[in-house]
């Protein structure tokens, strides 16, 4: 499995900044790791710990959450709330036995396509180093 394994990185991006940056990266013809799967939210303040745990439970190798630069949130402080929540999720991952580095918070402004590219590549590389999410490999549920 690890031979031709490619990490899957889930990215929760906010509508007003980070998603626009991703869009701009496309318009600018910038290349980035194709491992990322983007999910657009109105604001990273909407990101619930459960979204992230669920992504890992379903086999994601890394999750990145990206909002506006601090102080620039369209909803004023959604990204600051997300920052705290990501810190909390890291502790949850540790509890269950996954590396906390598999999740990270970024702040990427709408015009900062190169930063988006760097972030995606960084998370993909990080996931590659950490190896496949162990939850992907084993099936353990017994039928009811």
């Amino acid at each position: 499995m690890t031979d031709n394994w490619e990490p899957v990185v889930i990215a929760y991006l906010c509508h007003f900044c980070s998603y626009s940056a991703a869009d701009l990266a496309g318009s600018m013809r910038l290349e980035y790791a194709p491992n990322v799967r983007i999910s657009k939210l109105m604001c990273t303040g909407k990101v619930d710990a459960q979204f992230i745990l669920k992504a890992f439970e379903d086999g994601a190798d890394a999750v990145m959450v990206s909002g506006c630069e601090e102080g620039d949130c369209h909803y004023l402080e959604g990204n600051l709330r997300a920052k705290k929540r990501i810190a909390h999720v890291k502790s949850l991952l540790k509890e269950v036995g996954l590396e906390p580095e598999r999740v990270e918070m970024y702040n990427i402004g709408a015009s900062d396509a190169p930063k988006f590219v760097r972030a995606v590549n960084e998370m993909t590389e990080r996931a590659r180093k950490l190896g496949p999410n162990p939850l992907k490999k084993k099936e353990n549920t017994v039928p009811a």
């Binding site: 745990l53 439970e57 162990p134 009811a144």
Partner: protein, 227 residues
Amino acid sequence: MIIAERKPFDEIKQEILNYKKVLVLGCGTCVSVCMAGGEKEVELLATELRMAAKIAGKELVVDEMTVQRQCDKEYVEAVIEKAAQYDVVLSMACGAGVQFVAKTIEPAIVMPAVNTKFIGVCEAEGVWAERCRACGNCMLAEYGGICPVTMCSKGLLNGPCGGAKNDKCEASQEKDCAWVLIYNRLKAQGKLDNLRKFTGARNYTFQASPSKQVNEAYVRPELAVKK
């Protein structure tokens, strides 16, 4: 409301160590509001347990259910049928809820997933503070609406003790001296005279445990308690 906090994950794992089918049961009232054991926390805990088991290569089924209140018969009875399909019910309600579920589905195994802490208020997002010890004989009228039983570290009814410094309690610099608060409140209300009165020793029979409360107007005749 009742304030609780989730138990450490390792302790919860230990509680269900010998079981293969777990029902995580949330409570939609107090513990939901204080974010310890509501529907959302049930989802999180169940997901964590499933993930941890899978990583450890263990067989474990973890399902989720949340009822409006685990301290109310009509809601708990709705759990009986479902609970019968599991080896253990992991209740995320306060201690009262856990016991009520355990009694309702006895002798099925019910384990607590939260630590019940106090009766309190929500001071700000994510911050809860104790306000009442359920003493059974509320004296707030005398003390300007500040409870000396709860808010004074020593529970003094005829304070202050004299140890306060900079309006903080001598037991902990983190805590306001309840008696400074009481004095200031009564002063603002023009009721400082209240403090001239001596309050006798607390009557602990008001708090005899386990306490019971009956409202005759609502008791069904067949269940009425004999006096």
